[in-house]
């Protein structure tokens, strides 16, 4: 019998809510977290909306880290891990006695620092390089921040596999626990809203003007967003022995690489990823009750994803919704929020909605995007999709973990 891996804590630092209670309420009520950008000067930008976490006050959450010494993405990761450990009810003695690991997914690491440095070099010259910026830049700091915030001495890895990174991190954490290398692992992702990410998606023609409307006929693209999304994964018997609340169970994951194009998604490779994830999790497609979509809201992504779903699940697939409609695209944190949405959906018996849905897309016939309103549902096995630049796909399968 393989070692089972429970999900025992959720730490969302998101633009729809900080902490699991607010996040759950917002998710269920279809609250939107996007707004006009405040973190950088948008003068001259034809589009100005993003999903910033405006209410994030690192001092209020962090116990040990000095926010002045860490970049925003590291702060988000560490704060999310702090909330997750509290939600999991893990006391310091239990943590200290356990073998731990931290795996933080990210697309850009400290993207705001990237912008600071590039602006300095462009406008003030290389010798003006700020030591503080240079010191805070390395992406490895995101996972080190989690361990230092929680006082952990176990292994740490930042997993920088772009927009599927949190699923990669969850997968790695799952493998660590499965193979007996850790008892408890903090896994998820973090990224920050940044000027160049906004500009880049705008220039690719993939940025929406007002809102993100995945699976809508008139969907126009993503809104960039940020957040920290950390989950506590724990060996099932360890979790049960301490009477932990169990949100669900990681059943397995699959990862594929298109190896064909840096930006365009590849339906066959995504379908292969679904099948691998099902096989590794020991489930059949017809057992999946819900798919938390990558669902970026670009015309290409949603079509490609829908066709891959129809190919693997047949003409009558399970409901497929995109929480990016509410959160925007939080990059490396995105599939971490997806995994949380899946866990909460199973625990509380509802389907998270795709908000901003106006007109069904005839090209996506057969896909039920759970438009605009959450629906009650009894969910046993769910699927969380994450796709990334570079054709890196990762799909995580979760179960209820109550049997």
């Amino acid at each position: 019998m393989s070692t089972r891996v429970a999900i025992t804590g959720l730490g969302p630092v998101s633009n729809i809510g900080i902490g699991v209670g607010d996040f759950l309420d917002a998710l269920r009520n279809g609250k939107s977290g996007t707004s006009r950008i405040k973190s950088f000067d948008t003068t001259g930008f034809p589009r100005v909306m993003a999903g910033e976490v405006e209410d994030f006050h690192p001092d209020a959450i962090l116990h040990r880290l000095d926010p002045a010494e860490w970049g925003r993405s590291s702060q988000l990761a560490a704060a999310a891990a702090r909330l997750a450990v509290q939600d999991a009810g893990l006391d310091p003695a239990t943590l200290a006695a356990a073998r731990t690991a931290a795996a933080v997914g990210t697309t850009s690491g400290e993207a705001v620092i990237d912008v600071n440095l590039a602006r300095t070099w462009a406008l003030d010259g290389y010798p003006a390089t700020e030591p503080h910026d240079a010191r805070l830049l390395p992406a490895g700091r995101l996972s080190a921040a989690v361990n230092h915030e929680l006082g952990l001495t176990g292994e740490a890895a930042t997993i920088a596999t772009a927009c599927a990174a949190a699923n990669y991190a969850i997968g790695f954490a799952f493998d660590l626990i499965r193979q007996g290398e850790a008892d408890i692992a903090f896994a998820g992702g973090a990224d920050s809203v940044a000027r160049h990410t906004h500009a880049g998606f705008l220039r690719l023609g993939a940025l929406a003007e007002e809102r993100c409307s995945p699976f809508d006929r008139d969907r126009a693209g993503i809104l960039t967003a940020e957040g920290g999304a950390m989950l506590v994964l724990e060996r099932m018997d360890h979790a049960r022995a301490r009477g932990a609340r169990i949100y669900g169970e990681v059943l397995g994951y699959g990862a594929t690489c298109d190896a064909s194009h840096m930006v365009a998604p590849d339906r066959n490779s995504i379908a292969r990823c679904f099948r691998l994830a099902h096989r590794n999790a020991g489930v059949r497609a017809d057992q999946i009750d819900y798919v938390c979509a990558h669902g970026t809201g670009t015309p290409t992504n949603d079509l490609t994803e829908a066709l891959a779903i129809l190919e693997v699940f047949g003409d009558d697939p399970p409901p497929v919704s995109s929480i990016k409609s509410a959160l925007g695209h939080s990059m490396g944190a995105a599939s971490g929020f997806g995994a949380m949405a899946c866990a909460l959906a199973m625990t509380h018996g509802f389907l998270p909605p795709t908000i901003n849905h106006v007109t069904p897309d005839p090209q996506l016939a057969g896909i039920d995007p759970v438009p605009n309103q959450a629906r009650p549902a009894d969910l046993s096995i769910v699927q969380n999709n994450g796709f990334a630049f570079g054709g890196n796909n990762a799909v995580v399968i979760l179960g209820r973990g109550d049997a």
């Binding site: 440095l117 240079a134 080190a144 493998d175 500009a199 630049f389 890196n392």
Partner: protein, 350 residues
């Protein structure tokens, strides 16, 4: 029993691979250093072709060249097993220069969104690993890990778990660091050194395979026994290397007497470096122990360094068949307090 993992070949670009020493780097903009370990003869256009070299950043170019060399060295023909071959790459930030070049347009062009969309993927940290997958046709799991100086060993750790979980049969595993003006300024200002080791650039890739997934023509140079990663909260923890070394040997099931080579590179903090050396020397008192310092041959190539260390100890074995059956320990420490050690056992001749 977990799968046995074999290192079947490796490749490296940068001065250590090319055999040159530190030289005077050239750049059109001010550099913070006058000497660096770079290979002026390294020509991505010649090695990769103009079509590939034109739009990629320096980090990606170095990675692709090292992947080519590693696959050739291992005689790894990927196409028949494309869906079972992946990439695991260590890099601290992706290309600092490629990212800055893209962002620059937003500040100097009249309209702030007029950036170059073709180069947008260069800003994403997994750019090099993704390009490697495209070039090599490697369709299995493709992972990028970041951990500063420990990146190369974090890549090995991730690859070890990934192969044992059955996500792939073979992985191109390694790490990369570019020498560009942007990266040099970041290094000099962000992690000033207390010694005079020059900066360097390098990429080193290894082919790591599941022994159970046999393929014709394969030769094993070493078995990966363990990769142990820990985080040290106290930067002045003088016993860190000793404790981590003990843990790595225990994980590998290797007695200290079996170890013939220890690779420990400096980090630019002379006191911490001396403590680490002393801590490991306590585990390996044998005066015949071969101590290796990859910084002396490749410079401070930061996130590539641990992979260069691995390639260095493997090269030692290739030159010295007498090392067959003995083990090597490769150690790396990062400023964040994250440290890692790998234990390999050199294979005999086949």
């Amino acid at each position: 029993m977990p799968d046995t993992l074999l290192i079947t070949g490796w490749g490296q670009v940068g001065p250590a691979g090319a055999g040159s020493a530190g030289c005077r780097p050239e750049a059109a903009v001010p550099l913070p250093v006058t000497r660096a370990f770079v290979d002026p003869g390294l020509d991505p256009v010649k090695r990769l072709g103009r079509g590939t070299a034109r739009f990629i950043d320096r980090t990606t170019a170095l990675t692709l060249m090292a992947c080519d060399e590693a696959a050739a060295d291992a005689d790894l023909r990927i196409e028949p097993m494309a869906e079972r071959v992946g990439v695991t790459l260590g890099t601290s930030c992706g290309s600092v220069a490629g990212t800055a070049e893209f962002i620059r347009d937003s500040f100097v062009n009249e309209r702030p969104h007029m950036v170059n969309p073709i180069k947008f993927p260069n800003t994403v940290i997994n750019c090099a690993a993704s390009h490697a997958a495209i070039r090599m046709g490697a369709k299995a799991i493709n992972t990028t890990v970041s951990g500063g100086r420990v990146s190369g060993l974090l890549a090995m750790r991730h690859a070890q778990l990934t192969l044992r979980a059955g996500h792939a049969d073979a992985l191109l595993v390694g790490a990369v660091e570019e020498f560009t003006p942007e990266n040099a300024w970041t290094a000099v200002r962000g992690r000033p050194r207390g010694d005079d080791t020059p900066l360097g650039e390098a990429a080193a890739m290894l082919v790591l395979e599941r022994a159970a997934a046999a393929r014709p023509g394969r030769r094993s140079w070493a078995e990966l026994l363990a990769v142990t990663v820990q985080t040290f909260g106290d930067p002045d923890d003088r016993a860190a290397s000793h404790r981590l070394g003990r843990a790595a040997l225990a994980a590998a099931g290797v007695p200290a007497e079996e170890v013939a080579v220890v690779s420990l590179s400096g980090t630019g903090d002379p006191h911490a470096d001396a403590d680490r050396r002393r801590g490991l020397a306590g585990l390996f008192p044998d005066p015949a122990m071969r101590w290796r310092d990859a910084e002396s041959i490749a410079g401070d190539c930061y996130s590539a360094l641990a992979a260069v260390q691995l390639a260095d100890v493997l090269t030692l074995r290739r030159r010295d068949p007498g090392l067959a059956g003995r083990s090597a320990l490769v150690a790396a420490f990062d400023e964040t307090g994250v440290a890692a050690m790998a234990v390999l056992r050199f294979s005999g001749s086949e």
